[in-house]
Amino acid sequence: MFFHIVLERNIQLHPRHFGRNLRDNIVSKLMKGVEGTCSGRHGFVVAITGIENIGKGLIRDGTGFVTFPVKYQCVVFRPFKGEILEAVVSMVNKMGFFAEAGPVQIFVSNHLIPDDMEFQSGDMPNYTTSDGSVKIQKDSEVRLKIIGTRVDATEIVCLFISCQEVSFFLLRFSL
């Protein structure tokens, strides 16, 4: 789910950036350093939407660098355990399939895909129900439930999705 949240971060600035454009420099350094990053606690920082305030700078002893505490508003994407969300299938193989929901990679193991869905290999590998009515292949849209997340240094990978919620887009209103 996307959230609009206020976060705080200390920005260290070299003295050569001081002057009239101090504020602009702080903001652009913040954007470079924060946008696109990910932490286990707050998820992916997608975009900074505004600066709440910039605190008083503190000069670091011995270096001349100044640290400014900056409060900023941003849009974050944070997947939660138990959340149901929609995703686009990016790869299908016999172990299961991968899907993407925004910046997040999701893996659905074949143990969690409904039993009546069979894996079909070929140039378009897919999972199909016995009557052929539902087919999960690359680029399909699925609705799934997150049952666990794992945080790597740079990205959250959601692992393991429970099966009953894996459904095709057309079925979304039957949830």
Partner: protein, 121 residues
């Protein structure tokens, strides 16, 4: 770590800071990101180079999964709670406008759904 363990979105256990934060609908995120993207387009020639992969992927995702093209209209409908199709069209003429597949039946269904939400609250 205990907070992390108990996290469960199905029961709205999502940690204090996220409960305080405002959660956004996909269509709202799309508006924000597109606005930001336009700003970038004005300041540089190649905006795709400027934005992070996370931004790009999120934008694609929210565009694909936006249910509503116009959150303002949704807001009006939510606030005013019209009961009949005529009322709804009078308040938000754009739900009938070109390019949307909303016929009377679809609008009626939508209004019914909205009143259902009211009942369950």
């Amino acid at each position: 770590m205990s907070g992390e363990e108990e996290e469960n979105a199905a029961e709205l256990k999502i940690g204090d800071e996220f409960l305080k934060a405002k959660c956004l609908m996909n269509c709202e995120v799309a508006l924000i990101l597109e606005h930001k993207y336009e700003q970038l387009q004005q300041t540089s020639d190649d905006p795709m180079n400027q934005v992070s992969q996370v931004f790009e992927k999120s934008l694609q995702y929210v565009k694909r999964f936006s249910r509503y093209k116009n959150p303002d209209a949704l807001c009006v409908l939510g606030n005013l709670c019209p009961e009949t199709v005529e009322e709804a069209i009078a308040m938000v003429p754009s739900i009938r406008s070109k390019g949307r597949a909303h016929d009377d039946e679809a609008i009626e269904k939508m209004l019914n759904d909205l009143s259902l939400i009211k009942k369950f609250e």
